[in-house]
Assembly symmetry: C2
Homo-oligomer: 313 residues x 2
Amino acid sequence: MSEPQFDRLALIGIGLIGSSIARVVRDRNLAKEIIISTRSEATLARAEELKLGDRYCLDAADAVEGADLVILCIPVGANEAVAEAISASLKTGAILTDVGSTKGSVIQQIQPHVPDGVHFIPGHPIAGTEYSGPDAGFSTLFDNRWCILTPVPGVDAVATEKLQSFWQACGSNVDIMDADRHDLVLAIVSHLPHLIAYNIVGTADDLETVTSSEVIKYSASGFRDFTRLAASDPTMWRDVCLNNKDAILEMLARFSEDLSALQRAIRWGDGDTLFDLFTHTRGVRRSIIEAGQETDAPNFGRETGEDQLPAKN
Amino acid sequence: MSEPQFDRLALIGIGLIGSSIARVVRDRNLAKEIIISTRSEATLARAEELKLGDRYCLDAADAVEGADLVILCIPVGANEAVAEAISASLKTGAILTDVGSTKGSVIQQIQPHVPDGVHFIPGHPIAGTEYSGPDAGFSTLFDNRWCILTPVPGVDAVATEKLQSFWQACGSNVDIMDADRHDLVLAIVSHLPHLIAYNIVGTADDLETVTSSEVIKYSASGFRDFTRLAASDPTMWRDVCLNNKDAILEMLARFSEDLSALQRAIRWGDGDTLFDLFTHTRGVRRSIIEAGQETDAPNFGRETGEDQLPAKN
């Protein structure tokens, strides 16, 4: 095992992402010491039970003292207040980063609170599950996933390289791009899919003509796929919507325009248009599987029906 | 093992569903003899290589001769021509059923060709994967899934019971409802989800501002979930759209209305509306898991990144 890359890592927030970082850092010996902070006493106690760190603080400012790597693992809407709170306690030379799903807003909100001599490099590991909290994390979450860094102009290149090498040691491939590009790309690959999933689950649940129990019983015919994304953390996703508004509205407009065309094809019985679209989209999945970002097992490799509870009636 | 329920089963079409029926019937000894027909020589040859049946016919009319159970396992758009072709060869007393995803249209298209003395009982096993063809089937596909039968008024009750018991022996739970209700329910749980999935994959692929390779690399952030449904059989789904038009357009209108409200909440920064919706939808997934229609494993139980190809770069 190689030398630890950092002496003291402070994790602010210990949910799915924070606790996965804690686990992989411990497993692969990437930091000598892990300090964990969250404002919820119950969550902090749980993190301690799970032995995720070496020290535990309710106060984020205490946690970052002396840390040479500080990672904010909190909903993006909470970044500004936390940045303000920890600002005076950050060690000169420390790297400050985050894991938020929006990057333009994070820069706007954190940058003003970064003291001279602290290297602020926003980041976004593109990995997750629909579960939340310190129990949901696991050390292989980042393996073969991508992590995007969006350093602001003028940031120390050595610090960026150090953070890049940290994420690589966590298992990720690292890309560097500017924050605007990140926010545009993520709007289509992540934010729009989540919104659409939340929306269709809401539509189905609101129908007065079809009962909830019918939706549930027959969900294996397609609907259930959407419920996974729609079970994601509500606070995180509210904050994403509020903090990447322009790009999300742009992608929503595109999506709705295309959906209107599809609707028109259905109304007028235009089978060729439907067939062309439905054929074309198959290739996209094949490319994702070939890129190692998806399983080729049928139904995502879900357990088959016979392994599932409850027993047949 | 119990006595076979039927002497001779004729399967017209041997794709994912047809070949899964062939396999479960063989495994559980549900018919003495399996006759397979498909109009594609290559597919028929493959079915024979896979030893899915006892006899193989290119001509559907030949296949149904003497069969006491005939199951049409073809895209719903092909039903009318096949019903016409086999009509004169159906045995008196035979049960004729299908597996199509729309039921009103199937009744309209098949019923006129059903001779007196043949029991036509439309059916729809709610099970599948994104793969197609005779290699894609497996004998446990129907286990703990639902199969809906939509018998027309006046059909023989004993025949309906016999078909119900056949599907139960295949592993399914069986519900009986009228065709209109089926078509409405399936429009929301299956047809709309597929359309939305096809649409978003199309939107992402058409963007001139984000490249395909970006969409593919970062797809684990949400997008890849949709690509599974959008990889489903294009012919089948074109036919579904053309044959359940009214119910699909109704559900599309609901979905778009709700999406506009969501869009408005984003535009105006209405975090409470977003948070309420995103919280509410979590419960729906929990109910589906509790009903045994979904796995509770994170990410559908997909293999983790480290098991996936290609190796990290």
